[in-house]
Amino acid sequence: MAKSKSVLGVGRVMPELPKVMTGIQGLDEITFGGLPKGRPTLVCGGPGCGKTLLAMEFLCRGALQYNEPGVFIAFEEKEKDLEENFASLGFDLKSLVKHKKLVIDYVYIERSEIEETGEYDLEGLFVRLAAAIDSIGAKRVVLDTIEALFSGFSNESILRAELRRLFRWLKDKGVTAVITGEKGESLLTKHGLEEYVADCVILLDHRTVNQIATRRLKIIKYRGSKHGTNEFPFLIGETGISVFPMTSLLLSSTVSSRRISSGIKSLDEMLGNKGYYRGSTILVSGSAGSGKTSFGAKFVDAVCETGERALYLAFEEPEDQLSRNMKSIGIDLKKWIDKGLLKINANRATLCGLEMHLVMAHNAVRDFKPSVVVIDPITTLIGAGMADEAKAMMARLLDYLRNEGITVLATDLSLGSTHGDSAEIGISSLCDTWIRLSMETQGYRRMRRLSIIKSRGMKHAHDTKDFMITDNGLEMKDIPGRKEDLR
């Protein structure tokens, strides 16, 4: 929370419209402060897109974080099912109900059991809702999904009139309501609920591209308020929904002129004798087996040595394998993990969509607060998304980390190693320092070479060096036979 405030200035006084915070990670940022207070918000989307979860999380967080009790009218799931489903996300609905913070009322409609004769209204629903609201002094209400009424009653004109009355009634009650609706073919919802709930409409989407599923959230309208208009990737994680807010990505990060050691003395010498800039983005590209991971590990090792935290996002090797391999060159990662200075998040890139990786990375950074993040390698991550959107996504992640003042080292597997100047999807332009590792064959031996292609804002060496991986780490040496220093 504190962080979101600092990023966007959510705390600033907005004269527009009173809002209530949802407490849902990221959502309050893109809505600039939450949902419209005392008004209904429509959340729509296809089956399994997370409508119920969003709605329930809105109530739970309201009750826990903002002391606003809530009423959940469930048309689809029984109380017990909801309790069980949400227990897995860390929400103890039972205890909330016991402490009078939450009322769940399951409304059961079965058309086959109901015969209609003549005029009727939905006063029974109103009575139940009113009783539930009054019993705990609820400030928030969820109707999930009210469209079930359409399958229960055949007289649509009565139903529509009653829905109109219901939403007016909710407004009069002054409760902030979330209404969920199933996505329709041409309309936002099957029965055109958006006609009644006009203040704020959020669309959730769960789509699969190249066999990788991503969830996205879009605010379609928000009367009387500005809002982010993009599609925001979101994740249903262990603690509920996290929306990855890109609105926080402004090109306004504070630039540091402090330096941070690369962990390799001879490389620091090549970088103006001081190492990288803090908060800068470093790209290490190279062909397979050129030592990129060792590079990242050495950097992490040096960072932890100074007592700072580092996050290692590994997409190719699991944690154990990584520490074993690095031990062979004299880097003890386990030590730092045990001390709590290093965290290795190992995930297969194809585990989920790129957005999901970004949200996970975002959450890991938020929780662990590292000063250095290593992404190894950034290239496989790109394989998890479409090429063109991958670049945009990558830019978002790097910008986010830059905003947080985190130094990033990303490794990049350049496939066409011979002319590697055209780094994959142009990540290089996002990077401040670009180090290229290459393998050269001399006779029967393959030699590692290192060159600094660019390093913004500092003097750096221009000559290609020999790069050795030894038992004691990494070392750069002049290539034998070329003593001239071109600096």
Binding site: I114, T117, Y120, G124, V127, A130
Partner: protein
């Protein structure tokens, strides 16, 4: 016509013209077809909102047939006699 006793509950919300009409219609039908073998309980949800949950009442007025089983619900002002009779299984459809 069934021999079993009819136990009926009529759910209303306050004394509205619609609920009065529903009760009058129901009374008339019962007297005509079920004389002596029925009971009607009128439940006002305004006074007793908690009772709405038990029979899953949403629409008002709702008539619930508790006996004979299975439970049947008829919503509306019960103005259509045919439908009420079918709904209560007093006469068969068609």
């Amino acid at each position: 016509m069934k021999k079993a006793a009819y136990r009926l509950k009529l759910y209303v919300a306050g004394t509205t013209p619609k609920s009065l009409e529903a009760f009058a219609n129901l009374k008339k039908i019962c007297e005509e077809y079920l004389k002596g073998q029925y009971s009607i309980e009128v439940i006002d949800l305004i006074k007793n909102p908690k009772l709405a949950k038990g029979d899953q009442i949403i629409a008002i007025p709702t008539l619930v047939r508790h006996l004979p089983e299975p439970i049947k619900k008829i919503i509306g002002d019960l103005s259509n006699k045919e439908k009420v009779l079918v709904g209560l299984n007093i006469i068969n459809k068609g």
